[in-house]
Symmetry: C2
Subunit: 163 residues, 2 copies
């Protein structure tokens, strides 16, 4: 009987008497959406052999060439060791390069290579299409509010949440 599960799958609670990260909480919803996005991205990026974070890192580097590993890590809210792993793979595949900062011999600044840029261009349309589908049911005038709200949450988290 799939009717049973279908019913429970679709129903999203509006009220939640006892608090926590239940179905109506932002924390819960963000987690589920993220999980769904990652699943979908994994599938769509398989053809170009890119992991989700590799794609994300490439994307950030395209918009902000010259970021160091430490900067990328802070921006992504992950430990520098985590970002290093991703960056190392991109470098090994020739999709990105890192060069010593002229003013600081310790810092390595990363940027895309032409092949990296090209691969990203191949992967992009599919990911962009996904974005539009995500908010397809949201009124156009509300979409900017949703995005701004999430960006605001991102900033709070970057600042340490108590700032």
């Amino acid at each position: 009987m799939s009717a049973v599960e279908d019913a429970s799958l679709r129903s999203v609670a509006k009220s939640a008497p006892d608090g926590g990260a239940d179905e109506a909480s932002l924390i819960y919803v963000v987690g589920r959406v993220n999980q769904g996005i990652r699943r979908e991205m994994r599938a769509r990026l398989a053809s170009v052999d890119l992991s989700v974070q590799e794609y994300t890192a490439l994307s950030v580097l395209r918009a902000r060439p010259g970021l160091s590993n430490a900067q990328l890590a802070r921006r992504s809210l992950v430990a520098p060791q985590s970002m290093l792993e991703t960056l190392a793979k991109l470098e090994a595949r020739g999709l990105a390069v890192r060069e010593v900062d002229p003013g600081h011999g310790r810092i390595l600044r990363a940027r895309l290579t032409p092949p990296g840029r090209a691969l990203l261009a191949v992967a992009d349309p599919s990911i962009r299409a996904m974005q539009e589908q995500l908010l397809a049911d949201v009124p156009a005038r509300d979409r900017a509010i949703v995005l701004r709200g999430m960006v605001s949450a991102m900033r709070r988290l970057s600042a340490g949440l108590d700032a």
Copy 2:
């Protein structure tokens, strides 16, 4: 020099000429927010020895007692095997129990035990506080729109994105 990184850490791009999951995209922002939330939750849940998914599963079970592992998995957009691992840990610690469905000998329906409910009550305040901090900078009238938008995205992902 930390001024350099500070500047880049705070600045969030408003425009993104070449598409993809850049700083201004919902996909990107959701990923970063999720990462930040998980980090923060891990820290706050350490004192009660709960992982993020354990807390989430307990939370869902409190709101929806009697869900089966398969139902929980679909609801969370993960494979049933993934959910089973979490559920097994909760059961082993006596925080949840699973009982055979009276009408279907194969299905095991899960619910919280009193200790599970109690532990959740201990963890809740800290997590709830986090939620409020997340949207602290968002105008009150916009918060519902943000949450509704994310719930809408969650539904789209549950439905398969093309529906």
